[in-house]
Symmetry: C2
Subunit: 387 residues, 2 copies
């Protein structure tokens, strides 16, 4: 994802980061791998007001490089600061209406935007975990979110909503805590990575691990694998776009000159854009977090997890209504994969709506302000929670 969704914020929703720490040793969190992790800190932000009955909660799960700052501005930021990554969707009167819903978004376990991850201090050594951080799964990320909700005294959510990796978390919520979730909106996501998606993730990991500054993950406090991380980001970024969008946005236009350089400087605008995306990402993201999160997404497999023969047992246990959304030009998680999800839900006799949105922007389309998605989400939430 890039920052295209971040527009100037018109209304002045102000938020602040909050922190919740649990799983203090010796009561560590037991991960899906069997490893133990603790303490675990989750950073989160809330938007709107929690009802007395605590029955108006909407949980937003962020995508790979997202964070808890889904909407609005931080307290003290100037009015023209860039708002959260889904500001077009979440706010007063928007698709997820914060005048009505109490919205929670937390940074994922394994991330690097405030929640515990490989760059966090290992309580045993006092130094960053680095590769001693245990592998975490989508299930573990969701488990940590559940601990946060327990802490907040919330035992029911109107909906879990997420795009891409966030959609995987939303799906995981529906089968892991079926009694808590009334509705799920998985957007531009998949029940499991294709070989193509794994391949791109693996190449991105290799780009980082090929950088000598990666130093087997042990680079904190010194120069990190910035070059490798930038290349990894460029690879990812191309998969978030589409052929059509790139033709429209860049075509073969040259950057700042009239003819070719006949060298290895930037010739085309698309080259400049990619290099910029790469170097910008290095400023804000931890290379080890990229390794852990991409691996978690590769491991995620709702089919293997929930299917018994042709039936989807665990999906059948969920009481949630589903709104599945895909985009015509998303080639990372193409519509056929959304349809596989819809079919699995139908085979499990679940209540599911499906919408494929015509858009030429590729996988990242869900991050781009689009009234069609807002209307879809608003209407669906109305159906779930009543008008």
């Amino acid at each position: 994802m890039d920052d295209r969704g971040r527009q100037k914020h018109p209304r002045g929703l102000r938020v602040q980061k909050q922190y919740f720490t649990f799983a203090e040793p010796p009561h560590e969190m037991v991960l899906e791998s069997g490893a133990r992790l603790g303490p675990v800190t989750i950073v989160y932000e809330t938007f709107g007001n929690l009802s007395k009955a605590k029955d108006n909660v909407v949980l937003i799960a962020h995508a790979f490089s997202g964070d808890s700052h889904v909407s609005g501005l931080y307290e003290g930021e100037p009015d023209d600061a860039g708002p959260g990554w889904w500001d077009s969707m979440v706010g007063p009167g928007k698709g997820v209406d914060t005048d009505r819903f109490f919205v929670i978004c937390s940074n994922i376990l394994g991330g690097c935007a405030g929640s515990t991850g490989p760059s966090s201090p290992n309580p045993v050594t006092g130094r960053p975990y680095s590769l001693d951080f245990p592998m975490v799964t989508i299930g573990d990320m969701v488990g940590a979110q559940k601990a946060l909700l327990d802490h907040l005294g919330i035992n029911k959510v109107v909906a879990v909503i997420g795009g891409s990796l966030g959609g995987m978390q939303a799906l995981e919520w529906s089968v892991r805590y079926p009694d808590m979730v009334r509705a799920v909106i998985p957007i531009a996501t998949t029940m499991r990575h294709s070989a193509l998606a794994i391949a791109f993730n693996e190449v991105a990991r290799q780009a980082i691990m090929a950088d000598p500054n990666w130093n087997h993950g042990d680079y904190y406090g010194q120069t990190g694998p910035d070059m490798g991380l930038a290349v990894a980001r460029m690879i990812g970024h191309v998969t978030y776009l589409s052929d059509q969008a790139m033709r429209r946005k860049f075509g073969r236009r040259l950057q700042d000159k009239k003819d070719f350089s006949f060298g290895f400087d930037i010739d085309f605008q698309v080259e400049s854009y990619l290099r910029h995306q790469g170097s910008k990402f290095v400023q804000r993201f931890d290379a080890n977090s990229l390794l852990y999160i991409t691996k978690a997404s590769d491991y995620f497999d709702l089919v293997e997890q929930t299917a018994v023969g042709e039936s989807f047992q665990d999906l059948g246990l969920t009481k949630a209504k589903f709104l599945v959304v895909s985009y015509t030009s998303d080639w990372l998680y193409p519509t056929y994969q959304a349809k596989e999800l819809v079919q699995a839900l139908k085979r499990a006799d679940r209540n599911v709506s499906f919408c494929e949105i015509e858009a030429d922007c590729g996988h990242d389309a869900f991050l781009i302000p689009d009234e069609r998605l807002n209307n879809l989400v608003r209407g669906f939430l109305d159906g779930v929670a009543g008008k």
Copy 2:
């Protein structure tokens, strides 16, 4: 491209490398950039016999990582050695019938399989050119092939045939030397790179240039940018496959174990495959050649080069018949790009046949033995040269 096209050779076509050197200083080759290069050596191989009238020549242009060894075995190789990269297409009785045609294939200028490229000695310093090698274009590659044909006394070719980057060379031949070319078969190629294709090339270049061992191109005689080159190859390799082919070939199958490693070792077969492709490539390819050749392909633009307003002037000058071939699952140079070529040729009032082959193997489909392509090529050549 990988080695899937290389099957055991059944008939025993034996070839040897031949070398032609020209543009000895002070009579250097003048490149499209204006730079001068000389001497230039081109390695080539020939298959079949040249007719007395020298009128049975078919020129094969290889793709990005190919070489002059299009078919057969080298003299002295054991019978079970892997044959050339298009052995399924070129040989006695095959699509390009060497009992009938005199086939020539040369390694491209800028390459690293015997022809002059960045790893060749710079006559000024006696050391490899490295980045002092001038930028070469598809036009320059074709110019060097023309010098080779002049040397062989050949002034007419029945057909120029090539896939991918080879297809660009074939197209370039048709407009650069219109009087020499009777037919052109561009396969799985494009009139110009899309922003997406440039993006993937740029990321591959960045992967190499991010490797400290690249050392601004000056790595000959010491450890080269093997890690960066391997990552670059993995990126390229993914673009040569297709979602469908990867699902069929790898799916989510695990490599040599029953469960996840919960670490960064290889879990999935597709990861193992990619790492293998990367490290195999490092053994045979020069990183600087990758930089030069990808840039040449990004620069190639037959539209800009030949179009005046809506008409395609230079294409109209060619006397060649065209057979344009694309593959349904090629997303690097998708069928819509082949159709743009066909439409440009039609607007220029050229004789053009077009075939989109249904195949799920992605861009590399043209390298995989397929009787449909062989029959197409054979039939088309019959039409051009008479039965």
